[in-house]
Symmetry: C2
Subunit: 336 residues, 2 copies
């Protein structure tokens, strides 16, 4: 069960998260310098291996048990015509996840990852955030706890993904409220809106930001403009940190959840790496603001944790090289 | 055994390679439009799946048997001080590959790929190309045939990698001779040369280009400025096409091998995709010239097929999604 029963309890948990183990990271860096390759020749794989080693507190770790959790939620603002798909698709896609037919099912299997699905009160959409706060405090705490409790303590890498018709609208409003800038710079085409529908989406984001920005910290902003699945992602990301499980962030919505944590407690997402740059309009800007460089840039804009699930392969391969390669001495290879 | 016994025989084989099966590709595109995701939401994964389906002649394929082949060769120009490592490292690294200690061993295992290693006459380095042609025609044919014969007809995806001290020097000379431009625009730091050694490397590339450019087609340029492992890569890439096995290109040296084919027979590398953008100086320019957009850009500069081996995961995941996902009708999901 979650270690908190109200928002201040969650804030306290965020403030008490463990830090990277610099001793393990430094030992990993020393090992890296002895491996049979020119210095730096594995590029970002070398950085990833040392970052992961530091968070796991192990200079020569491997990835054996990645977990992917998909959170689903419904949004009142969907009634405003901001998505190319009707709101009932959220529940239909949850069934598709459970039956193994979605992209994330294939990607989880390919990555050797456990996949869990948590649908959050799909029959109770958030309030339309242009009319008032999206969530009550109790609902936010419940969603954070759902995410917190969904993380498997035995996992050694976490991906959180989402499904929720209209949630790019919510994520754009969160990003604009937390980071500033015009609604049009944060609003993307989501599942594929364009023309007048896209203009409508931008104006709805702007309305929500005007009503709710500057009203509190990242968690209060999450309550006002977010959604249950976004809050659950935030709860899971925080719990992973408490368990020293590194996290691969997915796309724009996942990034918005992470930004809510970072704007509540600086450093709260230091255990996170950006899995990919999505095609959703504001994602590059959001990653810049979070100071995260994406591992992949393949034009995905699906959500479901799909881009981060692909990045599991890269992170695991980095650790396979780091922990499995021979040193110059072991292999009898002349160092340069 | 190879289908050719001299260079003109190889040229004839290149001219007779099969083309993509447009019917299978179009059927894959039709299936793609029915899968449970917004149109285009899987980005480049969708393009990859259709490209792969076309080359395999199967609208719903999977990748079960990827093969990685590492070719090793020695270069006379290594005696000119163009590498940070001594020439004996080529043979030492071949032993490291055979004993499982190199990066590519870990990456092949992680990708579920068969790994083969072919050392080509390591005791007979090429001639120093600043003094004359690197290879005799018979030696080039033998190296092309080694590559041709190394491809497993049962493979369904091929990566070719290389090891050869000084082979970025050879690759830079090949690229400059085939594509034009100054030696300094094609010469990179390889295993890590800098300062005066880097300036020396550039001038050696320029000497070779001055002596050999404009003396024939891509294969004749390969004979004059290439090496046995580069020729073997070219032979393997061509054989893969004959067998309808798609190829993931690795870094700068692999790209130079591919360029030799493309400059002998236009379209000869249409079955190839670029696995990654390496950190080697001229690679981005080379990929532009080949009209190939890299899947990954992680700053690798190791060779050994390492970047392409990482990209196997992306290509396989693309096919898992394409061939494994449910359609809207199958899943009962409302289309947008």
């Amino acid at each position: 069960m979650a270690d908190f029963s109200d928002l201040d309890g969650f804030r306290a948990a965020l403030g008490a998260l463990p830090e990277l183990d610099a001793t393990a990271r430094d030992a990993a860096a020393e090992r890296n310098g002895q491996l049979t390759k020119p210095p730096g020749a594995l590029g970002r794989l070398e950085d990833i291996a040392q970052w992961y080693a530091g968070w796991r507190g192990d200079a020569r770790p491997r990835i054996e048990a990645p977990q992917i959790i998909i959170f689903a939620g419904n949004h009142g603002v969907a009634a405003r015509g901001v998505s190319a798909f009707p709101a009932e698709v959220t529940a239909q896609m949850v069934l598709n996840f459970e039956h193994g037919g979605a992209a994330i099912n294939q990607l989880a299997r390919a990555a050797g990852a456990r996949l869990d699905v948590r649908a959050l009160a799909l029959d109770r959409p958030t309030e339309d955030f242009t009319q008032g706060p999206a969530l009550l405090a109790d609902d936010l705490v419940e969603a954070l706890a759902t995410g917190w409790d969904a993380v498997d303590p035995a996992a050694d890498l976490l991906v959180v993904g989402e499904m929720g018709i209209a949630n790019t609208t919510s994520a754009a409003a969160l990003a604009a409220a937390l980071l500033g800038g015009d609604a049009e710079h944060w609003t993307g085409q989501g599942t594929g809106v364009d023309g007048a529908e896209f203009a409508n989406k931008i104006s709805i984001v702007a309305e929500g930001v005007a009503l709710h920005s500057g009203q509190g910290d990242g968690l209060e902003t999450l309550r006002r403009l977010g959604g249950r699945e976004i809050a659950a992602m935030a709860g899971a990301i925080a719990r992973a940190r408490a368990l020293r499980i590194p996290v691969i962030l997915d796309g724009f919505i996942c990034g918005a959840a992470a930004a809510c944590l970072a704007h509540t407690s600086p450093g709260a997402i230091d255990h996170c790496i950006a899995g990919h740059l999505s095609a959703e309009g504001g994602h590059g800007r959001l990653l810049n603001a979070l100071d995260k460089a994406p591992l992949l840039a393949l034009g995905l804009r699906l959500g479901e944790g799909s881009g981060a699930a692909l990045a599991i392969h890269i992170v695991r391969a980095a650790l396979e090289c780091h922990s499995g390669m021979a040193t110059f001495a072991e292999a009898g290879v002349s160092a340069g």
